[in-house]
Symmetry: C2
Subunit: 341 residues, 2 copies
């Protein structure tokens, strides 16, 4: 618990040399390096982070901002993304500061304190986030990346899930297991992810030509709100009003799927016998629902890790043009489509 000066004295060198070995920079004779290392260990020396950061003019912190409701409510999704970032951060010397912002966001008053006080080197915006916030960061030239979201009309650095192909593989799975009237239940297309998932759904069906445009429309339910189990309940109820019941539902995410399952249960409709259900995300609950949910697994930790890497690149030097990195998904087959692996 001493200072660099104590180490220098003990090792019989200058503090500059100690600093050099601390950061392995420059040239230092192996023997003296060893002496210094010994001194460090004997005195159990830890360099002061504040002093370091002061000298290097960096914060060593990166911000992680998420919508209040996304963190607060059912979703486990972004917590995992956060954890992925945290894992990555462990190998660097930075800390991740997690905070939330409200849905109604005014940069004048609602700015996370680490932005207000300039305490981060960069920021990750997880999921849907107020556009004003991104604009603010852009104006202030604070490096940032979007994670699992993008802002229409803007080209920002971002890490995205391969929503299109993920949805595609899910629907393909349904078709291959014999389903022919496949519904879609989703929330607001404001989330580009959901929009993409719908596109994957639609184009897969078109490709296999199992339904025509008119049918697709009748078996599509979209409510323009944040996703929730409630949307699922509503959605499946709506789809069931068709003359022919759907024999499968592709839900825009697991949360929605939970609602669908609940409603089907209530109506005593058998899953997967009568209707197969597929979700997206693979939230922890997906493995515990009854029946266990077939879903498109999103590697959330990877998402976080990639976000961290990209953000650090951006902090180093702004990427021009902005990059989008795509993370692949995998289909996890469980009871709800009856083809468990």
């Amino acid at each position: 618990m001493g200072t660099i000066r104590d180490i220098a004295k003990k090792a019989g060198v200058s503090i500059s040399t100690v600093s050099l070995v601390l950061n392995n920079k420059g040239y230092v004779k192996p023997e003296t390096r060893q002496k210094i290392i010994n001194a460090i260990q004997e005195l159990n020396y830890k360099p002061s982070r504040s002093a370091r950061k002061l000298a290097t003019r960096t914060n060593g912190n990166i911000g992680f901002i998420i919508w209040e409701s996304h963190f607060y409510e059912v979703e486990m999704f972004y917590s995992q993304v956060f954890l992925g970032m945290e894992y990555a951060a462990r190998r660097s010397d930075s800390y991740i500061l997690l905070t939330t912002v409200k849905e109604e966001f005014d940069p004048k008053t609602d700015l996370p304190r680490f932005l207000k006080y300039n305490d981060v080197d960069g920021v990750a915006l997880a999921g849907r986030v107020p556009h004003e916030l991104a604009l603010y960061l852009e104006n202030e030239r604070i490096p940032f990346v979007l994670v699992d979201y993008n802002i229409p009309g803007k080209k920002y650095n971002s890490v995205q899930i391969d929503n299109y192909n993920g949805a595609n593989s899910a629907v393909q799975h349904l078709i291959e297991s014999g389903r022919r009237r496949i519904g879609f239940v989703g929330g607001t297309f404001f989330h580009s992810s959901i929009k993409e998932r719908y596109r994957g759904f639609k184009e897969c069906i078109e490709h296999y030509q199992i339904m025509d445009a008119d049918q697709i429309a009748r078996y599509t339910f979209v409510e323009d709100t944040e996703t929730s189990p409630a949307i699922g309940e509503k959605g499946i109820s709506s789809l069931l009003k068709n003359d022919q019941k759907p024999d499968a539902v592709f839900c825009c995410n697991d949360t929605t799927a939970m609602g669908v399952i609940k409603e089907l249960h209530k109506r005593q409709i058998k899953i997967p016998d009568d209707i197969a259900v597929v979700g997206f995300d693979d939230i922890p609950n997906a493995a515990y629902s009854a029946p266990r949910l077939t879903t498109v697994k999103v590697p959330k930790l990877v998402l976080g890790k990639e976000a961290f890497n990209l953000l650090n690149e951006v902090i180093e030097n702004p990427l021009e043009p902005p990059q989008t990195r795509i993370i692949a998904t995998t289909l996890v087959k469980r009871e709800s489509t009856g083809v468990e692996e």
Copy 2:
């Protein structure tokens, strides 16, 4: 984006004076204070955190440590506790550094980096946590508090839920709604919380004399592992082997209750008609399960806030003897006991 020197120059005073108004300390004439404030605003000045922390010899960070599996798995519980701390931190100038530790923990190798590098002023340990970790903190004299946990044989500062009374009220509710054979399903008593909940359960039943000791034993299922839906499934299956089925189950937490519900569903046993189910915690899912779960609501945000406050007191000056603060719970009646409010 200047320094304190720029402000001093602009306001025509010394940096000492600027520092005084920055920290409202000492005496400074109202007019000069105003001049300084103006300068600060005009230059949009933000004091450097590193410089500050260097000068004051503090970190301004507090650590939040949670078991990997608790954060990682189904539980939303501790994320909320974290959020409660984060809210509280917003009004101070500290940041919460969230990290996880593995179940098998060796202080030699697995120490969170903010401990290894001395980057926090104190630590909150959320839920069950390796005892070695608490011992390490104690030895190193790093201020810490336990949240929703305590370590047998040790008296540490902690914030606890009123598990006993919470369980008591839940069971009382069951009794008052006519139930007479009430089962208990729980995980390891290693968690003092669970132990306390069991005590609340047991003593309430004894108080109302609806079951004798022998019966209580037959209607109690405890598995010595971390709680999970799986325990619930197993537990209720076991209780159902009694000659007389239970007419209610008190689960040690909602996660367990989810498993119970799933299993009862599978067996076509009606909730609450045949068997009422009560959980503990009020995780978000509790409101979305089918049926919606009656549960003992734990004010997680409050828990976090209190932990933050207590920790800061401890950082200021070590409390002797250590304190335990108890947070009250409330019973939320929903469909699963058929007496929804």
